[in-house]
């Protein structure tokens, strides 16, 4: 996942590579994901969220649908 200044530069990047535009999130959503994923990474209790937990975490910041479902086979 990459940083862009704006959605316009995302579109330019996709066009340059012939790739479809995929979901874009903002800084606030990214910070939520960073804290949720890594906030306790330096502790003994840390672990990676399971697939169902991932779906719930993404949904908390409005990221829903098969793209955000690690068990999906279509997106």
């Amino acid at each position: 996942m990459l940083f862009f200044r704006s959605e316009e530069t995302v579109d330019r990047w996709c066009k340059q590579r012939g790739l479809p535009r995929c979901p874009i999130i903002n800084l606030e959503q990214l910070w939520f994901l960073a804290v949720t994923w890594y906030g306790n990474r330096l502790t003994a209790e840390s672990r990676r969220p399971g697939p169902d937990e991932m779906v719930q975490i993404f949904a908390q910041v409005g990221l829903e649908g098969p793209f955000w479902d690690p068990k999906a086979d279509q997106w």
Binding site: F4, T9, W13
Partner: protein
């Protein structure tokens, strides 16, 4: 604490200290210690640490360097190689694996941070700041190309 957790904790402790120039005890270019270095610090056989690294990889907590399993490419959110996601925390410099992990380093260390990155399309520098436990607001977009179900098919690309 079980042995796998002991190794994981030592690894992250060494990463957090390794990036501090004053704390470097084992000269190396990488910010992530090798299995050899972790075994030396813990005083345990190398093969035991190597086995833990392998188990942590299976749990998707580590990614070995392709072609050299003694080295780690990713101990998320930290990168074992230089990347376009440079994270400065106090006097220390880390590299993150991606946009998500760049904020993840600040979150993992519970520290303020300055992230030097760039717009992937234009190359324009993008500097982000985490201050008092929150990112300082600014215009930017984070684009995900790979769906969640595919992230670990090629996590280095993801």
């Amino acid at each position: 604490m079980d042995f796998d957790t002991t190794v994981k904790m030592k690894l992250y402790e060494m990463i957090a200290g390794r990036a501090d120039p004053l704390a470097i005890k084992i000269p190396t270019l990488a910010n992530i210690p090798t299995s050899i270095e972790v075994a030396q610090v813990l005083g345990v056989p190398l093969e035991d640490v190597a086995a833990v690294f392998e188990r942590l990889h299976k749990k998707r907590l580590l990614v070995p360097e392709p072609g050299d399993p003694t080295r780690i490419r990713m101990a998320p959110p930290f990168s074992g190689v230089e990347t376009p996601f440079k994270v400065r925390v106090k006097q220390r410099t880390f590299f993150a694996n991606c946009a998500w992990d760049s904020l993840g380093i600040a979150a993992a260390l519970h520290e303020d941070a300055i992230i030097d990155a760039s717009d992937a399309a234009t190359g324009e520098p993008i500097t982000l700041e985490v201050k008092l436990g929150q990112p300082v607001a600014q215009e930017c977009a984070i684009h995900f190309v790979v769906p969640a179900a595919k992230w670990w098919e090629d996590i280095i690309y993801t």
